[in-house]
Subunit: 423 residues, 2 copies
């Protein structure tokens, strides 16, 4: 502990370049294809690659002067204890798991950036006032089991063991069994529930093109958007494509086309950042010379204001029903996801903004259209989600890419932010 605070010296970008680049490539070898995982990374919850990566990070943390420990769902924490007695912890990190054939940055970057930042602070400024923990969250993507945010959710209490009873992966291995194979869920490690978190700070790749197109280095996220997801079914009547006059048809695909077209028109017209997507369709019987009997499709609507989503959907369905009725087809829909937007901490965002202004780093406020662990922590403690650019917005792909210079911008911001909060 220092009696008077030393002014912070942030490492130059050049100083950080190699260690950031090397650690990204190193972590990508766990579950990676090709050199440095350049041909894709597949590191799913409790898999051998996942276990090896957590072990390796545990070793890293210890080498870096942090005290590592697991909780009983497999989250890994590297702790730098502070001098203050209240025991509250600044948590920083991201998720270790990937989608199948994902990239090297999604989740991994946040863990690596947090680790490098905290290691730097420890090496140069010793013990903080406030405790800091770097976290490698066990799971976020839902890529092995039908379960998302297992790491963050178990810590805040929105996830529990009951929710994973009876779920299994594509090979039929149950969640419980997989946990056990990795050494978790057996009471060896402490329960994941936390009540000592001061805040959560997550660096993540944008998975969109806004920063790159607008030429900014950092995105300060104000909200994680709310989203609703529906399954929509249009029912008509199959008939022969040659012998059925147009006026007697009840063509489910024609109606679906009309409905989907309207989604695009209305979403574009909305102009306030709302996004609406139909990404998936199934047509039955899906034969060229048979009029479609039934079409199901997905609808995904997102906006930072839940009321805006509600109004959009309500008006859309009223218009949709008119269209289907006019075409003699029937429409049913089922809402299977309804997540409220989550606001990030304005205080933390402002601190970050001032740091970036001082550093002369270009930045902007923005919303996150994708879900993150930050949305789970965000309803639980002050949370800051900070984006670095994604090249061409590519994500969930081996082609996912962020230049090291941009990754380093994030680390330098985090070093200053953590110093300000903890030292």
């Amino acid at each position: 502990m220092r009696i008077e605070q030393q002014p912070l010296v942030v490492p130059s970008p050049t100083d950080l370049h190699q260690q950031v680049s090397e650690m990204i490539d190193w972590l990508a070898t766990y579950g990676g294809q090709g050199e440095h995982g350049d041909h894709g990374v597949t590191r799913t919850l409790y898999s051998p690659a996942w276990q090896a990566a957590q072990s390796a990070l545990e070793h890293c943390m210890r080498e870096g002067g942090l005290i590592p420990r697991y909780d009983d769902v497999g989250n890994l924490f590297g702790r730098l204890s502070g001098t203050e007695q209240d025991g509250r912890v600044i948590l920083t990190g991201s998720h270790l798991d990937t989608v199948v054939d994902g990239g090297k940055y999604d989740g991994a970057y946040g863990i690596i950036a947090s680790f490098i930042a905290v290691r730097y602070l420890k090496e140069h400024y010793g013990t903080p006032r406030r405790s800091i923990e770097v976290v490698s969250l066990c799971e976020e993507e839902g890529s092995r089991f039908p379960m998302t945010y297992w790491g963050s959710g178990s810590m805040t209490g929105i996830r529990d063991m009951q929710q994973v009873e009876g779920i299994a992966d594509a090979e039929g291995i149950s969640f419980r069994e997989a946990m056990g194979q990795a050494g978790f869920g057996m009471g060896i490690h402490p329960s994941p529930r936390r009540d000592d978190l001061e805040c959560f700070i997550e660096l993540h790749v944008e998975q969109g093109e806004v920063l790159e197109r607008e030429g900014q280095s950092i995105g300060l996220v104000s909200h994680i958007v709310g989203q609703r997801r529906y399954e929509v079914t249009v029912s008509g009547e199959s008939n022969h494509a040659g012998t059925t006059p147009m006026e007697w048809r009840r063509d489910a695909l024609l109606t679906a086309a009309e409905l989907i077209r309207l989604v695009g028109e209305w979403a574009k017209r909305q102009g306030d950042g709302l996004v609406a997507t139909v990404g998936r369709m199934e047509i039955h019987p899906n034969v060229g010379n048979v009029i479609a009997r039934e079409v199901t499709f997905s609808l995904d609507v997102r906006h930072p204001d839940a009321e805006v989503i509600r109004q959009f959907c309500e008006a859309l369905f009223i218009e949709w029903k008119k269209i289907a009725a006019a075409q003699g087809t029937t429409l049913t829909y089922h809402k299977w996801m309804d997540e409220d937007p989550v606001a990030m901490s304005e205080t933390l965002a402002s601190k970050a903004q001032m740091i970036l202004a001082r550093q002369g780093i270009s930045h902007r406020r923005m919303t996150s259209g994708a879900g993150h662990d930050s949305q789970v922590f965000g309803t639980y403690c002050p949370t800051s989600l900070l984006f670095v650019p994604s090249h061409l917005g590519i994500s969930h792909s081996p082609r996912e890419f962020t230049g090291t210079d941009e990754l380093v911008c994030g680390v330098r911001l985090l070093i200053e932010l953590l110093y300000e909060l903890a030292y």
Copy 2:
């Protein structure tokens, strides 16, 4: 031979009812599921069920006083030789094969009706002037191999052995091999090519709802419509459904929806009997939270006037390209089928119409929106295609149905028509 023609006595509907009904049920047992094939008939080219059916029909023909013979592609003919020396033949029948899980009437009815009619004429009026042959055409549907109209086409010359080189069924059995297994294609039977056909008359179920809805018993087909079939591809760009603003999207599914909607609007607006159908679509990657990168879909356009089809498609593609360009997606299309309409014989249709007027049977002129063997014969010799109603227009299904009374109407028409042409 009779010196003076006897006036024709057509059997009463009651007289025909049982034999028509029984023969439909009997033929349906070949390849049929359930009693009388009530749960579906699957009788594909050269299969064991197909062979058994041809054999059984051969026997039937012999018992009925017709001379049976095969040609070398497996068509079966039952001949009633006439007294005239020119050797020209009135051919009447339909196809023996079915689609997978088809019904009892499609094709089978035409064979059965022709057989019953000719057998009646022979029994009561003996030898005709002109030779008549009942034909059970080996194949029409293309349901086992990617080959349609193999029976009629081999007779008229639009099909030949070169076209079936290298094609195989879903199990990998080659066409040649399957032919050989059934005893054909080896020169045992005469070549299928014919140059002695006076005309071709085919009774068939409508496979549409016009006759049933309009309450008529017989449809006199004036044209088999022309048809064009396209494969259309829209290309855009995959992106994250949450993080990609609407204005930056190149959504292949949104464009496809717009294009498909237009097909329906224009076809309905056309109002002249044109039908246009999009029955099949594939979306890539077809994931709910990913903007579609590529969509392919089928387009099927039919009308009795080839020029109408041409103009419709030309105008459609011009408008389509504008739509795609406005949305930043690209459009390509490939025409893989372009069949001209085929006119049926007006002379034969008029004769049929006068017979029906005398019989007091309701009828109408109409086009056929589906392809038939009559379209192959129709460019080769005067041809008459005569429809009986299809209940609810259902076809290519175990639920295909036509009441026996209506089947009998067709037989009574055919008896008079053949008598008029051959006796």
